[in-house]
């Protein structure tokens, strides 16, 4: 770990201002990912701005009947909130499918969105990795790729986004609210929040330097059966091989987003028109143009089968 300086932010705008003006500055909230990465010198911030004291830790109703989730609401609290459990069950289930109890107690809503990939080559600083060191190359391509992306990848990067929560947020059409150094706020649709790797895989999201997440908002509940099917070798405390977040209505229509397959939570709205026809039709569109490797080719049928499982559960519910 490199030596760093540390301060507690006084206000959101102040935090954003400092983070955008000081080179090498990073926010820290729960720290469940950042601190690990700092110990391995995958992340080497020179200055940490602790945003835990800023508030943003409430879950409130919005005027249009949705929810505003403060950026620093802990994963445990979010998963347990009765309004979330009743109106957004997929979110609660996705959260509880992730990490461990201890980590969820510490991890925040915004931090969860900002998790870095779990690609093993990203984690080994001896290996080239365009995400860790831009321009160094990608050791994962042609290497051990069982966990890695099958859609939306590039010649520079085949990493996946590890979050479960973000997949649920994607299916719920969440918006990410931010503030910048000038005090300007904006709401970023979750669909646009995470980027595909392209030739700049070191940039995970569309956040500008210093821009601070203050909340995630959810639109009014849409009803339906809420499901999160997470497939993994180990029953707990493991990242998804494939996950399916789905909200399915009585008539078989619905929405679906997929985790474990791409650099971002994967959703193709156009594919959802085929929901009443079954998993095969939806999966074919969801994964059109997929470029799996020998190691992860199984994810293509697995997406279809996991979606079929979700549809089965929805019918049984």
């Amino acid at each position: 770990m490199k030596a760093f300086t540390y301060e507690r932010a006084a206000s959101a705008q102040d935090a954003a201002a400092k983070a955008s003006s000081l080179q090498g500055a990073r926010f820290i909230a729960g720290g469940t990912n950042l601190l690990d990465l700092m110990k391995l010198e995958i992340e080497t911030p020179t200055h940490l701005i602790d945003v835990n004291g800023l508030g943003f830790d409430k879950i409130e109703k919005t005027q249009d009947g949705g929810l505003r989730i403060g950026a620093f609401v802990r994963n445990t609290a979010l998963a347990a909130d009765m309004r979330v459990r009743k109106g957004y069950g997929v979110l609660s289930r996705a959260l509880l499918a992730g990490a461990s109890g201890q980590l969820r107690n510490k991890a925040t809503t915004s931090g969860n969105l900002l998790q870095r990939t779990r690609c093993p080559y990203f984690y080994d600083t001896n290996q080239p990795c365009n995400k860790r060191r831009p321009g160094s190359g990608c050791a994962a391509i042609g290497g051990y790729s069982r966990q890695l992306a099958i859609v939306g990848a590039s010649e520079a990067c085949v990493a996946t986004h590890p979050s479960d929560m973000a997949v649920a947020m994607r299916v719920l059409d969440a918006q990410v609210e931010t503030v910048n150094a000038a005090g300007q706020t904006r709401a970023i649709p979750i669909a646009e929040f995470h980027r595909l790797p392209g030739d700049t895989p070191h940039i995970d999201t569309v956040l500008a330097p210093g821009e601070l997440i203050t909340a995630v908002t959810l639109p009014k509940p849409i009803g339906g059966v809420h499901l999160y099917e997470k497939v993994r070798d180990r029953a707990s405390y493991a990242f998804a091989l494939v996950s399916v977040a789905a909200v399915i209505q009585k008539d078989g229509s619905g929405r679906v987003a997929i985790g474990g397959v791409a650099h971002k939570p994967w959703r193709v709205e156009a594919a959802e028109a085929a929901m009443p026809q079954g998993a095969k039709a939806v999966a074919a569109q969801l994964l059109a143009g997929a470029t799996p490797t020998e190691d992860n080719a199984f994810k293509v049928p697995l997406v279809e089968r996991t979606l079929a499982a979700a549809m089965h559960e929805a019918r049984a519910a």
Binding site: P120, G143, V231, D233, R234, Y237
Partner: protein, 739 residues
């Protein structure tokens, strides 16, 4: 004490303390976090500095140059040791590859430097500033490729399993060719990591030419000897201590780089130095269980009598390494007149392969016991009945040798009843529970018993407390407790009156912990020392040692009686002895037996496998403490589930390293993976094994579990998977249609 005739009745048979399910006496220390493991040894040597090991970034090649200037200038740095300034080093007898690399690099993450600083954080930060220029060389990283030209090789694991390059009895080929029912299949097992909770860790402190090392090691005397050999100093200049070990599984049988680098660092820094291997180094810096490729052929008559059996295994290791002795159990487990086993060894430039819990039998049984299941199905026989049909009470290769005790059939029958085997549908893919395909499977369990000499010293203090001192280790197994039980039984005391001190090279050399030989042999050594102490006590009290009875804290002879403490009132009594073994182990085949049962569910949609319940039935001689023995077996069953369903070191064949080198990437079971586990011990004593009449249990609990799970998966799905681990992609496209 020389043990060369089967034990008769002795004081242990009273079973007042031995054989009782007593709590572990180190339990409160462990559960309150006060057991001093190596890295937090208390009191810590004054002024300790911290060392951080730098692992090679390439698997094979040569270090052209190292630039230490930035690291040396970093805050808090005291010293940096590399092969250039470490002085001339030897190599330990148990190490295949030298522990400090450079300029030649033998494998990925081989230690090439240790950076010493005032704090751990400073050492770690400075270690990242060491700049190394490598000339990469081409390495051999693909086992399948290298096995094509690999020679036959005999060998033995350091834990005792052994097999020659080729072994033949009768005429296998002819018998197999003419067998009415034939089976031939190939199985693979992957490289596995010990993945113990406590990483390899050591504190080293020099005092002039003498070295003290607090470390985490299963075998005090091996580690001490190899450290002396590596440092080119006399063994008696080293004190090697390992009173608590947070898991080893064979990964800590040997001197590893933590201890060597701590010693070198402490010498360079002129201060005590603490070194713990960082988690990402465990997989590639230390040893692992080598991957295997195993072909098994079985020929039988229509009634299920095996007439021909062959097991051929291939594995790889560093030059001068040895094979994984995966054919070992096939030489002994089932009858059959015509037999062949062989092993091939490829040279690989992956990290050093070596013993991991039940080397040989663990991966060997993973293959053999699927093959038995497949052959039973081919014969149209129940898999239990097929095994019973081919039971043998003699070594099938040397029929003049009987098994000392062998109750495989008893284990199978008990298991059949207790597990509800009659409810298993022999036709696969017939049972559903909602989304889940449900199946049952079983496998035999087998692991050899190994005789190892073991010593102990026993002291009777003026206060009547008996203190046992032996360099035996407790790697989480319960050694403290069973040794206390042994001494208490022998001296006629309650366990509270016995103090056990372990893991210190200033104590008599013991069997150590490995190969499930620790419990029977180390308690045998304590037994021997106690026999001598009883003699000394009797003599001091003026009793005839042959007639003295030790019980309830007193010594009786005829109508005379005295408190045990009375014997030490004028000064402590001390006795030391070791147990040594004659040829009972040659005369008899000494092994442990069992049966594993598993019920699994397979998600009909996703192919995910989850174990629903498990049972182990074990026949392994006298069970010294049913509680700690059960803990050993359920732990082993858990490891077996890991091996069956998830554990695999992923090899990058381009760059030559295990890619998933942390506990996020190398998955071992968590609580949610492990359902109800039941363990049954059959009542058995083995008088040929030791005066304790006990054998080991810690590895038996693992051998066969993987196959039991795999056979249950097949019973659930009708899809046979022969490649471990059974991850979902290996059967997903062949699962029955979704209901």
């Amino acid at each position: 004490m020389r043990f060369d005739t089967p034990a008769g009745t002795n004081p242990i048979d009273r079973l007042k303390v031995v054989g009782k399910p007593l709590d572990r006496i180190d339990g409160p220390l462990k559960t309150t976090g006060t057991a001093p493991y190596a890295y937090e040894h208390h009191p810590e040597p004054a002024n300790a500095a911290y060392g951080y090991v730098v692992g090679s970034a390439v698997a094979k090649g040569r270090i052209r140059s190292m630039d230490l200037s930035q690291a040396k200038a970093a805050p808090g740095v005291i010293a940096i040791v590399t092969a250039e300034n470490a002085g001339k080093l030897g190599k330990g007898s148990f190490n295949t590859v030298k522990l400090l690399g450079g300029p030649e690099v033998d494998h990925y993450h081989q230690a090439i430097a240790v950076v010493v600083a005032e704090t751990f954080e400073q050492a770690r930060a400075a270690a990242n500033l060491v700049r190394v220029d490598y000339a990469r060389a081409k390495g051999r990283f693909d086992l399948d490729e290298e096995l094509k030209t690999a020679p036959l090789t005999g060998g033995s694991s350091d834990e005792g399993s052994s097999a020659p390059g080729v072994d033949r009895v009768g005429k296998f080929e002819a018998a197999f060719a003419s067998a009415p029912v034939k089976f031939d299949a190939t199985y693979t097992t992957p490289d596995q990591s010990h993945a113990m909770m406590e990483p390899h860790a050591s504190i080293a402190a020099w005092d002039g030419g003498s070295l003290s090392v607090w470390t985490s090691n299963q075998m005090i005397d091996w580690g001490r000897g190899d450290l002396a050999k590596t440092l080119n100093i006399r063994k008696d200049k080293i004190r090697f201590m390992s009173p608590y070990v947070g898991g080893g599984f064979g990964g800590k049988l040997f001197l590893r780089s933590d201890a060597l680098m701590a010693a070198l660092a402490a010498r360079a820094a002129h201060r005590p130095v603490k070194v713990a291997l960082q988690r990402p180094l465990i997989a590639n810096n230390t040893t692992h269980r080598p991957a295997t490729r195993q072909r098994i052929r079985i020929g039988a008559t229509a009634d299920g009598t095996i007439t021909a059996i062959a097991h051929e295994s291939g594995s790889g290791d560093q030059p001068e390494g040895g094979p994984e002795t995966a054919v070992n159990q096939t030489k002994l487990l089932y009858a059959g007149a015509n037999r062949m086993t062989s092993m091939r060894l490829a040279v690989l430039d992956l990290p050093e392969g070596n013993a991991m819990r039940a080397p040989g039998e663990a991966p060997g049984m993973m293959a053999l016991e699927i093959a038995m299941d497949e052959m039973a199905e081919k014969l149209g026989m129940d898999p239990i009945a097929f095994r019973v049909r081919n039971d043998t009470q003699v070594d099938p290769e040397k029929p003049e040798r009987r098994f000392s005790e062998r109750n495989l059939i008893g284990c199978l029958e008990q298991g059949r009843q207790r597990f509800g085997w009659s409810k298993r549908n022999p036709r696969p893919a017939q049972v559903r529970d909602g989304r889940w395909l449900v199946g049952m499977g079983m496998a035999a369990a087998f692991r050899n018993h190994i005789n190892m000499p073991s010593g102990a010293r026993v002291r009777l203090g003026r206060d009547g407390i008996v203190t046992v001192e032996t360099d035996m280790t407790d790697i989480g197994t319960g050694s403290y407790t069973i040794i206390a039980q042994t001494a208490a039984e022998m001296m006629g005391l309650p366990i509270e009156r016995v103090v056990v001190k372990l893991g210190d090279s200033s104590f008599p050399v013991s069997a150590g912990s490995g190969g499930q030989f620790g419990a029977p042999n180390s308690t045998g050594g304590v037994y021997a020392a106690c026999v001598k102490l009883r003699e000394a006590v009797a003599q001091r009290l003026g009793y005839d040692p042959a007639n003295a009875v030790f019980e309830d804290g007193r010594v009786r002879a005829g109508n005379r009686s005295a408190a045990l403490a009375e014997a030490a009132k004028d000064g402590e009594l001390s006795a030391e002895d070791r147990i040594e073994f004659g040829d009972l182990g040659k005369k008899y085949q000494q092994s442990t037996f069992g049966a594993h049962f598993a019920e699994v569910g397979v998600d009909s949609y996703t192919g995910v496998v989850r174990v629903r319940r498990m049972l182990a039935v074990c026949a392994a001689g006298r069970i010294l403490n049913p509680k700690s023995a059960r803990s050993q077996v359920i732990g082993a069953m858990t490891m077996g589930v890991g091996g069956a369903l998830m554990e695999e070191l992923a090899v990058d064949k381009r760059f030559g390293f295990f890619v998933n080198h942390d506990l996020a990437g190398y998955e071992v079971p968590v609580h949610a993976d492990i359902p109800h586990q039941e363990v049954i011990f059959l009542d058995e004593t083995d008088a040929t094994a030791s005066p304790m009449k006990a054998k080991g249990i810690g590895e038996l609990g693992l051998c066969g579990v993987g196959a039991a799970v795999a056979n249950a998966v097949y019973n659930a799905t009708g899809v046979r998977v022969r490649d471990y681990p059974l991850t979902l992609e290996k059967h997903l496209d062949r699962l029955p249609p979704i209901a």
